[in-house]
């Protein structure tokens, strides 16, 4: 057997795990590892400008590919800088392994230079974390880390590696474990047959059903099964913000997404339904509004890989713990074989009602003769990219507009920080996607507030030639904060206006990229085309949009799902 140092074992383990890219930033405690990285060429390292961005890059890659991302940083500040990124991935159940250097084990607890208890600091925001206690453990620890990160409900795993675990001249036998077995970790591999049968019966008997599909459909690679089941049953489908793309938005059975800024028809349909099939969703407060007023007439079937997500905020009538793809497959065959058929008359009446809601509101906004509306920018992007781009966003109004007006027909293309709501996510996430999908169009829709939270990564884009398109919906304010202040604080815009915005065009140019400014409505389409024609260039498109625009629909706080503002003046 081969003898390798801890550092070499670590890199070999990554190779054997099939890892192509890692994103990171070197420092003292990680130098043995960085040296091992230098002496091979299979695992490629991307040097970011801030560790938070490394995590978002790994995250963007993971969301687009469905495979775990990998991060490498040093101890202390290197490790703590990853925390926001890790928490972002944790909230959205994104598989990821974060390798952190640590001071030598002999120094731990002595407040050594760049020492932080990363195991303690990261504990509340990881699926698991592991500290390496002997160099010979490294292959097993790495195998375990990826296994835990990617199976069951996915999530980030932190591996803490004290410097003396990677000492170059101490060598151990290397063998990468083929399998890993943990007696205390056995994610469900199929749902309960009896419960699934019960669910199938209820679905076939439903008169006003809604399928409420979450991020679990995307993560669980179950879009095809979901689409097949929905078509067999003829039921309407609404996606959560995280589930966008899990069911084709252009399908006539799609109601769009639901919740705080979801479509009028999806929120109305949920509220009036008699049966909700929740698939890989977690009844988040941004979906349910006040839980005590949530969908009063509905019985709930809830499929999820994580038992703790079931009946957490809203009680499920039929809980099914299992991987969504396998449970949906079983439902499909039960529905196919069943003697009972969907209640055609009831469904016809239900669709008639839904079509009335669609006609009453649908997705709409008021056009302007003078201002560029943010919504029309997104519609133009959708047209210019044939609805087939990878689109990342930051957090705020621009994120909601993108989710509302870019109609995603495929999973894994809509990439946003839905759970934690992390500003600064969009650009590095787009970079992670572009690196692995160089031939696809990758757009980061952002705002002038969010983009400045990780703008330093323009430099990384130059170094690795990552020609993403940055679409900055510039309203010269923290738009969502301002909207809430307009609605709830009598327009007292406390700290939501940004003075002294940089000249983004010159900033992009300073980093070696192209900047385009769009401030006239008539230039929108042509200048966007110009930007997208520059295939091999990062183009920063700074678009001055209507600064007074609000995102609607918007659920009324503490109301039920059907209580919404439809514009600044219409409330239903």
């Amino acid at each position: 057997m081969e003898l390798l140092s801890g550092a070499d074992m670590l890199i070999r383990s990554l190779q054997d795990e099939g890892i192509e890219y890692i994103y990171g930033y070197p420092g003292g405690a990680a130098l043995h590892i960085y040296d091992a990285l230098f002496r091979q060429d299979k695992v490629k390292h991307i040097l970011v400008r801030h560790e938070q961005a490394a995590v978002h890059m790994a995250d963007g890659y993971a969301r687009a590919s469905g495979k775990p991302g990998t991060v490498l940083v040093t101890s202390g500040p290197g490790a703590t800088n990853t925390i926001t990124g890790i928490a972002t991935a944790f909230m959205d159940s994104i598989p990821m392994v974060v390798l952190c250097g640590q001071v030598a084990s002999t120094l731990i607890g002595e407040d050594a230079f760049q020492e932080t208890d990363m195991i303690g600091v990261s504990r509340p925001v990881v699926k698991h974390n592991i500290s390496v206690r002997h160099p010979s453990e490294i292959p097993e620890v790495i195998r375990k880390a990826y296994y835990i990160a990617a199976t069951g409900r996915p999530g980030p795993v932190v591996v803490d590696i004290p410097k003396d675990m990677t000492t170059p001249n101490e060598r151990y036998e290397y063998e990468y474990p083929k399998k890993v077995k943990l007696r205390s970790y056995n994610p469900a591999i199929r749902g309960h047959a009896g419960q699934i049968r019960k669910a199938a019966e209820m679905l076939l008997a439903a008169k006003r059903p809604v399928i409420y599909a979450g991020g679990g459909v995307v993560l669980g690679k179950a879009s095809d099964q979901l689409t097949e089941l929905a078509h067999m049953l003829g039921h309407p489908v609404t996606n959560t913000l995280m589930g966008i793309g899990g069911f084709p938005a252009s399908d006539k059975q799609s109601l769009g997404w639901l919740g705080m800024h979801g479509s009028y028809e999806s929120n109305m349909a949920m509220h009036h339904s008699d049966l909700i099939l929740a698939v890989g969703a977690r009844f988040d407060d941004r979906v349910t509004n006040a839980t005590e007023k949530f969908c009063p007439g509905a019985r709930i079937i809830h499929i999820d890989i994580d038992p703790a997500s079931i009946s957490k905020t809203v009680e499920a009538d039929v809980p099914i713990v299992g991987p969504v793809d396998s449970v949906l497959k079983e439902l499909i065959s039960l529905v196919r074989e069943s003697k009972a058929k969907p209640d055609k008359d009831a469904l016809k009446a239900w669709w008639k009602q839904i079509d009335e809601w669609r006609a009453f509101h649908g997705m709409r906004y008021e056009k302007s003769d003078t201002h560029i509306k943010p919504q029309e920018v997104i519609e133009a992007l959708h047209r210019l990219t044939n609805g087939d781009a990878y689109v990342t966003t930051d957090v705020g109004q621009h994120q909601m507009f993108t989710a509302q007006y870019y109609k995603f027909n495929k999973p894994n293309r809509w990439i946003n920080s839905g759970g934690l709501g992390t500003m600064g996510f969009g650009l590095p996430a787009a970079m992670g996607v572009k690196l692995s999908y160089p031939d696809d169009e990758v757009i980061c829709v952002t705002g002038e507030g969010s983009i400045q939270m990780n703008i330093q990564e323009l430099s990384t884009c130059k170094q690795y030639n990552l020609p993403v398109k940055i679409v900055n919906l510039n309203n010269q304010a923290l738009g969502m904060v301002k909207q809430w202040q307009d609605m709830n604080y009598e327009s007292r815009h406390s700290q939501s206006y940004m003075e002294s915005l940089p000249d983004f065009i010159r900033l992009a140019e300073a980093y070696g990229h192209v900047g385009i400014r769009i401030d006239r409505k008539e230039d929108l389409e042509s200048k966007l085309k110009e930007a997208f024609a520059m295939k091999d260039k990062l183009v920063f498109i700074d678009i001055y949009v209507d600064p007074h625009e609000h995102v609607y629909p918007m659920q009324v706080a503490r109301g039920s799902m059907k209580d919404m503002w439809l514009s600044k003046t219409e409330r239903v």
């Binding site: 509340p124 698991h128 974390n129 500290s131 007696r183 703790a308 009946s311 957490k312």
Partner: protein, 163 residues
Amino acid sequence: MRRIISVLLENEPGALSRVVGLFSQRNYNIETLTVAPTEDETLSRLTVTTTGSDRVIEQITKQLNKLIEVVKLVDLTEGSHIERELMLIKLKASGSQRAEIKRTVDIFRGQIVDVTSTVYTVQLAGDSDKLDAFIQAVGTTGVLEVVRSGVSGIARGEKVLSI
């Protein structure tokens, strides 16, 4: 409602802090907590008493089960069970008090495990209510120090929590 949750946990550094962290992170109560290795040295047995609505308790058990190092757990209060807590209590004991305290200790089936001319140290085991009752019986004015172990529990009959 008060519940006793018994957990088999991998006996590894950091495992206990995950359990404790989970309770504070998710705003659950811990009333008592005991933990020690079992006859299988790779496992610790942890007993936590907590209070909460049925929904909160369901979440606590589910969230605990999600921790990678939790091997198995049981809510002992769901079935008939035995619970015990150990108390060591130091009492002022001089003159006529000494006989009175001795009698009370006997009634509660406790033992005086250390004696000075003015102090008795009493050891008492039982469920938590019994220990509370003893403190009430001797009167709080005479109590110098109390140390309680927290609750340990086990199911009655043939049910066992093991892997």
